[in-house]
Symmetry: C2
Subunit: 726 residues, 2 copies
């Protein structure tokens, strides 16, 4: 049984090997003409500049927190300073995964654009493989890091004369608790990366649009707009690096949550700890294998290829899970069986929660899809209400978002009920793991979206023919099903993983958390407030950072002499709805060279890094402050943040998604309702729907996704500080 510990680093190495090979393949693809290369180079440099600035700030933070962990753990009986090492490793692995993913994404975007000149299938392949590198780097580093630490800590047990090693309950609990440090490191970095990246991407986006499209009247992604590169950098740091760190964190939290709960909720059964580890390792192998199934022939349907890859992997993994569980239950039977809460568990008791978790994730994804898709009643209602202006558009979008919380919450409740019925809180942990066992390939599909999006931007900026942009837009549209389901997994697994960590906190502190205890109630109230305050800070940060960007772009338009005539020319052509001549186009590209792109990039970078600190620290400090006052209040705090955070996250993501597609739906239809009125692009209704979409941007891309991390980071902090609270 102990030997299974080596599965983790092995699976991690397999995934990383895949990443390495695929990165090489992508590097060999055609990177397009010199304009494309220049643009891609600017984006790549901007993205790396952001990462390095961000990591510098975070490095200081990591050192301080690691120091505190070491000092505190040498003070408390049974504590081990090794948790500091785990924390640093988790943070470093998360950061490195973000770095690898973004590195390849900024290579893949321009190569996708280049491939799109030839057709859809080659472009899909490049974009998907770019995403796959991201996915496999994330799961590979997670398993490698976790595996090496696990082996190290297990080895230490014998050194420290913990004779029983992993087969001894005390030793096992001690070992897996140290791994919480790894998870905390990953979560902290993810929180800052999500918030910082989210601020960057939306500040650049809003800033570029408001000055470029609205004030100067030039098209989106236009080379004359100095904020365009920053906007594209933003897509990478927000959507690629941010999402990577996010999923790294989710993945680690669900594995570590299941391990800790396996150890503390049982009589220290090694089987219960090794089961989630094994499932994660096998899931990675399955993911890698299935990336090779994502192929499409000329004229084939790429949607089927992508969905086939990710659903196929999930299906196979579910089937394999039965046998894995059966093996562990069988092995455990020899030593008296897996007992939890007085009941001897059978294979079905562990399989159902996992399958239920997977089903719940898919169901939430389907519901998410329903609320956010074009031509479904919720989006239709927003489109209808846009007829009477932006105010009714906004009210309708908020209504849809609020309402969309209901069914996902019922699904989560059902998953908790079922999982708990079969295997107690350990079942809840397995349900979270069930959703995330094939994260590798899911993330590949998720990450290829922003790569395609970026490819489109590069095509636009480098003046490629419109059919290239059309192809990249098509790529972006494909795989939306998987992306929606990815969202469902993100929300569902956040709720379930933090619930299982919450149960671990309870077991570790033995806090009496009766709901009517005033301390618990105070914690609940404060906890429910935090997601609101956190979201407000994140949105405010976007607004402030966008203002910085707007001021800079306005300055350049005003002060750079060559820009004014070029801008006037583009605007005139836009107003007259005519294409520019080649000569004019060349003049404009010449003027575009004078834009001070790097200043916009620098402003976005500084603004977002400065403003990510406060909301990030809020999440990390709040549980510590409350915890040292009262363990019961900290329990309340976690529960309050969990429930309010889940609601706000669903609300903000879905309202944002629905507004986005309502705008697209308005753009799709040239005329309706009344044949004499144009209700499509350019109409008042379209303007109203654009406003809704803009409001939705920081909802769905900054605050919403960060809330999923907020929930978990607070719980993992509570677990890590638990030994000092009792």
């Amino acid at each position: 049984m102990e030997q299974l510990i080596y599965l983790l680093p092995i699976a991690g190495v397999v995934a990383l090997a895949y990443s390495f090979v695929t990165t090489g393949w992508i590097g060999k693809q055609d990177a397009g003409n010199s304009v494309m290369k220049t643009i891609a180079d600017q984006i790549s440099k901007g993205a790396m500049a952001f990462l390095s600035a961000e990591y510098k700030v975070l490095a200081g933070f990591v050192v301080v927190v690691a120091g505190l962990l070491v000092v505190m753990n040498t003070q408390v009986e049974g504590g081990s300073p090794l948790i500091g090492l785990a924390f640093v490793t988790g943070a470093a692995a998360s950061a490195f995964a973000g770095y690898l993913g973004m590195k390849v994404a900024t290579q893949a975007n321009v190569r996708t654009a280049a491939a799109a000149r030839k057709g859809l299938p080659p472009a899909l392949t490049v974009a998907f493989r770019g995403g796959a590198v991201m996915g496999m780097s994330v799961v590979g580093l997670a398993l490698l890091g976790l595996g090496l630490l696990f082996i190290l800590f297990a080895g230490q047990l014998e050194v420290f004369n913990d004779a029983g090693g992993l087969n001894d309950q005390v030793g096992l609990v001690k070992t897996v608790n140290l791994l919480a440090g790894f998870s905390m490191g990953a979560s902290s970095i993810a929180l800052f990366a999500r918030v910082g990246g989210g601020i960057y991407t939306k500040a650049a986006d809003v800033g570029a649009d408001l000055v470029g499209k609205v004030e100067a009247g030039i098209p989106e992604d236009h080379p004359l707009n100095p904020a365009t590169i920053a906007d594209n950098v933003g897509d990478n740091v927000g959507d690629v690096a941010g999402m990577g760190a996010d999923l790294f964190e989710s993945y680690v939290a669900s594995i570590v949550g299941a391990m800790i709960l396996g150890a503390v909720a049982s009589n220290g059964s090694l089987e219960m700890v090794m089961l989630p580890v094994t499932i994660a390792a096998i899931g990675v192998i399955v993911s890698v294998v299935f990336t090779y199934f994502v192929r499409v022939k000329e004229g084939g349907n790429p949607q089927i290829a992508l969905d086939g890859g990710s659903f196929g992997a999930a299906g196979i993994m579910l089937a394999l899970s039965w046998f894995i569980i059966d093996y562990f239950v069988g092995a455990a039977a020899e030593s008296g069986g897996l007992t939890l809460a007085g009941k001897t568990l059978e294979t079905v008791d562990l399989f159902v929660p996992m399958a239920g978790g997977l089903a719940a994730g898919v169901a939430i994804g389907v519901v998410t899809g329903y609320y956010c898709s074009k031509n479904k009643p919720p989006v239709n209602s927003i489109v209808d209400q846009s007829m009477t202006g932006p105010a009714t558009n906004i009210i309708a979008g908020i209504s849809v978002g609020f309402r969309s919380t209901a069914i996902p919450v019922l699904i989560i409740a059902a998953a908790i009920f079922g999982a708990n019925h079969f295997a107690g809180v350990y079942g809840v942990a397995l349900a979270a793991l069930g959703m995330l066992s094939t994260t590798g390939i899911q993330l590949a599909v998720d990450a290829y979206g922003p790569i395609s999006d970026n490819a489109g931007g590069i095509a636009e900026m480098s003046g490629l023919p419109p059919e290239v942009r059309e192809r990249t837009d098509n790529l972006d549209a494909v795989g939306n099903t998987t992306a929606a389901i990815g969202k469902g997994f993100a929300i569902g697994s956040a709720a379930l993983a933090s619930l299982s960590l919450f149960a671990a906190y309870k077991t570790m502190t033995r806090a009496n958390m009766e709901l009517t205890d005033p301390e618990v109630l105070i914690g609940l109230l404060l906890g429910a407030m935090l997601p609101f305050l956190f979201s407000a800070m994140a949105m405010q940060a976007v607004g402030d950072a966008a203002m910085d960007m707007i001021t800079e772009v306005r300055r350049q338009f005003r002060e750079i002499p060559s820009l004014r005539p070029a801008l006037a020319k583009v605007k005139a052509a836009e107003d007259e709805d005519r294409a520019l001549s080649d000569e004019e186009q060349a003049e404009i590209m010449e003027a575009a060279k004078d834009t001070q792109v790097e200043r916009c990039v620098a402003i976005s970078t500084q603004a977002s890094i400065k403003r990510m600190v406060a909301p990030g620290l809020l999440a990390l400090v709040a549980p510590v402050l409350i915890g040292f006052w009262s363990t019961a209040a900290l329990g309340g705090l976690l529960a309050g943040t969990l429930v309010a955070g889940v609601m706000l996250a669903i609300f903000m993501s879905n309202a944002g998604g629905a507004w986005d597609n309502a705008k697209k739906q308005v753009e799709d239809q040239k005329r309706d309702y009344d044949a004499s009125v144009n209700t499509g692009k350019g109409s008042d209704r379209h303007k109203a729907s654009v406003i809704g979409d803009t409001v939705g941007d920081p909802f769905k891309d900054t605050a919403g996704p960060a809330l999923n991390i907020l929930i978990k980071v607070m719980t993992i902090v509570a677990v890590v500080i638990a030994p000092f609270l009792v």
Copy 2:
């Protein structure tokens, strides 16, 4: 001690006598010219038509629920069918208070307009006395109903051979538990009244504005707009009747909560039950006395008069509370003292929670004022962000609303902590009562706002000179401090009163509500979701009902022949920014007679009544369904709704208030930022701020205030059904 029971009906009769006399006085005031009388008559008839339609629907609901309560209580041991009587009485008293308040408000509005022709002070007096009738009707009926039931139930105890009567613990608990029925009746009516009235007022407002101001280009409140009367009716049914039912409910819930908790949390101490009763009774007398202090001389500052009245009453009441508490503590000392959780309470232990509650209410009000007031940083930020359009205005408003939850929640947490420290959950109940002991005069100040607002509408519609409108606008602006503090009390008392009822639920069911119990967590999740779903339903209802109204107004503009030329004339005058000649004005008033005002009123009435049912039933049915599944889950449900509901209520009220004042602030300033750009009325920034204000309307006037009731109605339902769950 038992004799103090008679204080309640006596105080109730005093308040009602005040109402009766003042109503007579108002009736004798000048009701203006014939046009004004006609308009006032239309508003009054429309408002009464709504009430009677609403009460018809609610009567059916009340009969069904009362029947169920009677049947269920005859099935369970120790249950008494008298709870059905209590429920009906509570519902009837609430409905009657709404009726009385609205009757006098629709008389006072036109008389305020008439008085405003003479000057500000007489107008203030009429408007304030109108509000005072509302306030005293609410507290008078509450105490009379509660008092008579209490006497009746206490008398029944001896009939049923409960020999000890109120001095016996079992008898006391049984008696006060029956009073929960009264509170549930009041809460149910309040919920429907708030939701129905809130839908009505905003649907009419939005409908009238969109077709009148936006489409036809005629001013607000114009007589040619057939929806204008409905809009004014809406102010009465939403702001007056809705607010009255709301405060009736809050007031009753806090008194009954303290009584129940006094009985169940102690060893059945009669002193603890009679204390809140006595405080409420004395508070009413103090309120009545202080209404006579609200006087202003010509040239005096009405703000000082109003604030003096309500703060004076609160201050005196606080001082009196010390002596009242001291009396009860002294009386209890003879029979061994008031013991709670093993500690013998002294005067200070009960006084501090009450004073703390009052202080917390004021503090929340001050914070509310800060977030919603012109020229303070939050509203300034919205004004600034309006420069870049509606999208940034909306994002800024939502940020402000989210952020504004933080300090009030900290204050509520501090109040809970302090109250609990001194006197356990009974202290929490007293804290809620502390905020509401002078509800009578507070409501007087609150209710005079909509009366002044309506007076302004009547002045506009009946073509009175502009200075009359200015005076009524000034009236509306005065007393904002008190109104903000009223909001603070509403939110604070809702949280504290439902917490104390929650504690009563726990004691009654003896449910084990450990926070990590999956059933509790499922309850928490579902409970946190309900306020979101409820708000979505309420906002959606406003949108749908507004659409009905828009369709009808468009039809009238299209089909009534005389309206088209008149509308064209008004629009032309507006566009040219010139006043109409007397002749034109007369023509237009003639055409206005052809508008089918009553059809718009009927449409608003039907639409709002139809759409109030679903959200209302959601609140009432959810705790029953969950409760019969699991008492622990119901506990979680209540806690989840409480915390998420408090956040959403604060968010929606404050965002709405901040948007409203951001718009006003933009209108105040003709030019700023850049001398060459008009940034005031009519500018793009103004348009953006109007959109924010419109989004805020259903936030602050429909969903926000209803959430406060939602929280309490669910808790009181849980308390009432508690005996069947164990």
